[in-house]
Symmetry: C3
Subunit: 191 residues, 3 copies
């Protein structure tokens, strides 16, 4: 660093270093925010209308709108598709009776013939002291895999414009009546 010229070169070098670090290039791979929630789904089975947070709203011709079970356990049924709509409480721990901090609203469908695979599109809606706003999710969910990733495609209020990855784990599964999912949300774009 003996002359002004060397400074100019150094500065230009820095300019390209900074420039190259951004669009279209590798971005940081550690989360800027990390949240864990549980959500609780009580499947409508034809009898529990007062407790159910989930209802099947579409099924193919050979299906029916009450019980899930048959469609998966009969090997001779070729295309197994179930569409369900849910409105589930979200809690901070895995206790169904904890005070909900929000609601998970949206839909899932089981859409494969031979494996238990779900496709999900839903929102978390918060209106509590901890969090306000929404987080929006979309992705495929092979439910028998222990943990699987879906996309966090956007959010509002506290989660304004956020993007990230949510890792979903089935925390509990009680027959065809109840399941609990652990959702580990890692935001990589925080705004």
């Amino acid at each position: 660093m003996k002359s002004p010229i060397s400074f100019v070169i150094f500065v230009i070098f820095l300019f390209f270093l900074v420039s190259s670090a951004y669009p279209g290039m590798k971005r940081q791979h550690y989360p800027c925010k990390n949240l864990v929630f549980y959500f609780h789904d009580v499947i409508y089975n034809g009898k529990n209308a007062n407790n159910a947070t989930d209802a099947i709203v579409g099924a193919p011709q050979w299906g029916n709108l009450t019980i899930l079970a048959d469609k998966f356990h009969f090997g001779n049924i070729a295309v197994s598709v179930i569409r369900a709509v849910f409105d589930d409480p979200i809690t901070l721990d895995n206790n169904f009776h904890s005070t909900p901090v929000g609601r998970a609203q949206g839909m899932y469908m089981y859409d494969t013939k031979n494996t238990f695979t779900a496709w999900l599109a839903f929102s978390f809606v918060f209106n509590s002291t901890e969090h306000k706003g929404t987080i929006n999710f979309i992705g495929a969910d092979p439910v028998l895999v222990k943990s699987r990733d879906i996309s966090v495609v956007g959010g509002t209020r506290d989660f304004f414009m956020h993007r990230g990855i949510a890792t979903i784990m089935t925390d509990s599964y009680e027959g065809d009546v109840y399941f609990r999912l652990r959702v580990d949300i890692k935001f990589y774009e925080c705004w």
Copy 2:
């Protein structure tokens, strides 16, 4: 600024300032583009097949596929889920008879027991002199709240790769036959 060394320090400081300003950090919170549209939904009620832009395509076992009203007004129905598909004209003002600049296509569902909450996923499709291309939306919509935000997750052509927030307001609601939404789209990523 008396010596070359102080320059180096200054330049390094600038480097970190610029670096820190971007990924994973706060991004700008004022929109790079702002558009307002109205869209008009004529609900199928069993009689208006020629005018309807909306049709209910799924309902739980106790529901039917024509009239919305009952499901909300009967307190003894536990899970109220409606899935509807729409193809609605988009206009620049709140007049149903204005020349449409595009179509809103997608679905919504009412998915909560005790409140009027909708979940939406849809696209705006433009092919007019004003706008060409599509805008894609997803989000939860508590319909009784005056204004509520959903995510703009992407777009094409004029809205290539855009992201943002859309604020939805119910501009008019005529029973179970017609509603009009005002959509105020604020893009924060414009490309």
Copy 3:
């Protein structure tokens, strides 16, 4: 470049140049990754339950859950809505019998009265030597247009946080039983 002052000015100029190049401004418009896939959809027609990869799960009151054809060919049917769920093999070329590299899972719906327009939301799920992870899509698809664009809103694993545009072309269409789509995915955000 005769004095330290001119350096300071030059450096500040560079700072604004770099700053202005990023958020809220034009980003690069050439893809950082480009992939082409084909996916194959065998529509359930009431007889091919063992081969079908697609099933209609919702239709309006006047519809039925087996055959698509009628709804489009009868001019007196006002609102034509079909919701289908699919789980389709993805191949690298246009041969239905090629080894699949993944599955396309999700849903589409035909939602317009007078034109063949679909609305899509689906995921590509890869678990092969070529690709691992998922890619998530959403968008409107006017099926009679030769090529049309939808949004790539996120991804996982190999496609971690990716965004882009997918151009869809109907590569083959055999009546109401089979269609094949060519999907040209251009990622503009690669991470």
